[in-house]
Symmetry: C2
Subunit: 189 residues, 2 copies
Amino acid sequence: MARAKVTVERLTLAGAELADEVGVENVTVAALARQFGVKDASLYFHLKNAHDLRVRIALLALAELADRVAAALAGRAGKDALVAFANAYRDYAREHPGRYAAMQIDLDPETALTSAGVRHAEMTRAILRGYRLSEPDQTDAVRMMHSTFHGFVSLEKTGSFRHTPRPTDDSWSRTLDALDAVLTNWPSR
Amino acid sequence: MARAKVTVERLTLAGAELADEVGVENVTVAALARQFGVKDASLYFHLKNAHDLRVRIALLALAELADRVAAALAGRAGKDALVAFANAYRDYAREHPGRYAAMQIDLDPETALTSAGVRHAEMTRAILRGYRLSEPDQTDAVRMMHSTFHGFVSLEKTGSFRHTPRPTDDSWSRTLDALDAVLTNWPSR
DNA sequence: TCGTTTGCCTAAGAGGGCTAGGCTACTACC
DNA sequence: GGTAGTAGCCTAGCCCTCTTAGGCAAACGA
């Protein structure tokens, strides 16, 4: 069996899969080199350093998630779109815990601006068109939405919700109901 | 100047401070040993391993935050209490980014149950008394509140809000307004 | 006083990150 | 087809961290 050629893309993908299996913190240049049947040092021809690898994984994840969300959003509006966005987000995080964790590392500003992160922001704003919010309420609402999604998903992952018997799926859909309600009736100052 | 005696408590505190300065991921047994003027291996008399150290830092942070929140909550109710809780939470996270990050590692279930995490849950439920929610709405609301707080704070820290000029403080207080509104008028099924 | 415990030490091995420098085989061009 | 360049890998080697094993000395308790 011939080994697949080592390229940055393959390394990134393998790293992402490794992250989902063993956690980002265990995605190591050495482990990746072993997987490719190559010496650690050789990978530095393709990667700047270990951090570079993790950034690439983060960017891959951001792009993948943006694609999913875009697909989920197609043809939907209003609360329907809100729920579709939210579920696509949460499902991705659960299917790809390592990739999701990788997304949380801070990118330097320039990198962030060219990442799929901007697509996320655009899509979130698109949803809000259904709720007819104008600036600066729209920005505030975008931030609250992201906060709720990310917060819920990450607390769920770290097990903060395990202490209460209530199924998290139920809390999730009720949270989305609440979010929809508050977006529909955004409080004025 | 005589060196302070090495104890688990001192190690944990020093680790927490180191975390705030250089990030949890850089809180290393070796670095701590250097700070105490002692060899790395000697610390294993006090600590089980590196993970043990981080867990202790997390528990310290949880307890500190619970104390702060409790103090902020004293004598307040309703939205007043909500805002006090939220601000205490966010302020702590900003003053102690490393400690806050440490809080996010998952504790094994038994440890979690004896941690200050349960105090957080109790205090959150106490706030909700002002909003007269009954189960299971209360649990859902608790989860949504935590999600919003944690999500906002962690997105703010990783710089996800930097792309928009709107001051995050403003979005924060508007988010709390929205949260208050939705708790006041929690949607029925 | 004489264990026993406490608290540190040295030695040593397993990994991981990364740099420097070298070899090979393919590619492009004349 | 010969030759220069370069892509892609390798070895050697250094530093750091984590962790175990075993030893030694001082404080402490009976």
